[in-house]
């Protein structure tokens, strides 16, 4: 199959997809190596950009999908009525971050970090589809373990968890630690 035929086939398939189409599946359907499919998708994305199209081709959650160009959000939001998703509370975001970085993690572990019971917030995150059960702790108690979902990646525009910003970026710096220490009276003025 010629490159141009393969590019056209990719466009046709992605146009009828409901969710990101896995790279592996695309490779199988086109009988091409995954690396080749990646190149072709990159070609297409570059062409849309060069032609100043109102849509983009992105790689997200392990697959490819068409989506509207971010700078046209104002027009699209007039059209998309289902007001996307309600904002998450600060508590929910913090909990989501714990699950994202420490998965698989039990509710008790989440609660231990936050210092409060996490059941209600975890339920909300599950209902929103950002968090799901991923197994059970083999240890005593067999606590249910949770992880983030594919939808979580999609909503954040990430291809995989490896693209999360490193947690080290958020560890408070020496100044912050000093301030905390002073707050707790560890350090005298």
């Amino acid at each position: 199959m010629s490159s141009s035929e393969a590019r056209r086939a990719l466009e046709a398939i992605l146009m009828v997809a409901e969710e990101p189409v896995d790279l592996q599946l695309l490779a199988e359907l086109l009988e091409l190596a995954p690396g080749r499919v990646e190149e072709l998708c990159a070609d297409l994305a570059a062409a849309y950009q060069a032609d100043d199209r109102g849509f983009v081709l992105v790689r997200v959650a392990g697959g490819y999908r068409f989506q509207s160009h971010p700078d046209l959000a104002a027009y699209v939001e007039r059209f998309v009525l289902h007001g996307q998703s309600a904002r998450l509370s600060a508590a929910a975001l913090e909990t989501l971050a714990i699950v994202a970085y420490k998965q698989p993690v039990s509710r008790a572990q989440v609660a231990a970090i936050r210092g409060v019971n996490a059941d209600a917030v975890m339920r909300t995150l599950q209902q929103r589809g950002y968090v799901e059960e991923v197994g059970r702790d083999p240890g005593p108690g067999q606590a249910l373990l949770y992880g983030t979902t594919r939808l979580f990646l999609e909503r954040l525009g990430l291809d995989s968890l490896a693209e999360l910003p490193p947690l080290a970026e958020f560890v408070p710096g020496p100044d912050a630690v000093e301030a905390f220490e002073r707050g707790l009276g560890v350090r005298e003025e």
Partner: protein
């Protein structure tokens, strides 16, 4: 004593905005916005007091902290027993630390008790730092989602004429399978289990890490903090290691160099190879 004697001016850190939002000078530009005054438990309250109010907890009356939390508890429709218990433990630690400070001198204090208290305090500090870490990470996730949310995905699915091509998805599914699926979906989600996680809380010793670093650092020259913590699975371990490095810094045994916020932190041993660790004695017991 473990308390550092080094006098430092009030930190400016919390007068700068969180990363990515640009500097917001001025006292009323709140460094860390707590979106609601309903505190989500003790850590939330402490973080709020330390970061937003920039208070030294010793300067305000502990009863005010307790009152604030009790007021929140009363506003909650359902009492979160775990949270309330946790708060009591933390409040008790604070009260005890404060009492210690008012006592005339270390000579009259039971050393074992004092050390236990310091460990408790270190643990509290580590947990507060961890909590703050994830809070900031959560805000970063929200920013990512905000950016990604400007693009809307195509989810159109198959064109009508293609739907006919779809194989019979119910092929091989029997009515009994449907009934089984219903029962699966509606079954009591899980039998109640006793969660034992809280019985063995994470315990870390800053002292152990200080000891370890005092042995390994003299032979390593300058080493980055990232290097020092590579391979550590738990964030709490990383934070404890960080506290240990600070402890060595306080003792003048290492030099720290960090050109800018979030830049690589370099740790250089400056003490003699056989330096006496002042605080290690104090920690022992």
């Amino acid at each position: 004593m473990v308390c550092a004697i080094r006098a430092t001016p009030r930190p400016s850190l919390f007068q700068t905005a969180p990363e990515g939002q640009g500097p917001r000078p001025g006292k009323e530009a709140l460094p860390y916005e707590v979106q609601t005054t309903v505190y989500e438990g003790p850590f939330d309250l402490l973080l709020h007091l330390i970061t937003r109010e920039e208070v030294d907890l010793w300067e305000i009356s502990l009863s005010a902290i307790v009152d604030a939390y009790v007021a929140e508890v009363e506003r909650m429709e359902v009492v979160d027993l775990d949270g309330a218990t946790e708060f009591l433990v933390i409040a008790a630690t604070l009260v005890e630390l404060k009492c210690r400070r008012l006592l005339p001198g270390p000579a009259e204090v039971d050393v074992d008790e004092e050390l236990a208290l310091f460990e408790e305090r270190d643990l509290l500090l580590a947990r507060l730092l961890e909590c703050k870490t994830f809070r900031d990470a959560g805000e970063a996730l929200a920013r990512l989602a905000g950016t990604a949310g400007l693009s809307h995905p195509r989810t159109a699915g198959l064109e009508p004429h293609l739907l006919e091509l779809v194989p019979d998805l119910l092929g091989g599914v029997s009515p009994t399978d449907v009934r089984a699926a219903y029962l699966r979906a509606t079954e009591a989600k899980r039998p109640p289990t006793v969660d034992l996680d809280h019985v063995a809380p994470i315990r870390l010793s800053v002292r152990d890490v200080v000891d370890e670093l005092a042995v390994s650092l003299p032979t390593r020259g300058a080493v980055t903090f990232r290097r020092l913590t590579s391979g550590l699975a738990s964030r709490l371990d990383v934070i404890v290691r960080f506290l240990a490095v600070l402890e060595l810094y306080k003792q003048g045994l290492v030099e720290l160099d960090q050109p800018s916020t979030f830049a690589e932190l370099t740790v250089t041993w400056t003490g003699s190879a056989t330096a006496e660790l002042a605080t290690v004695d104090a920690y022992e017991g």
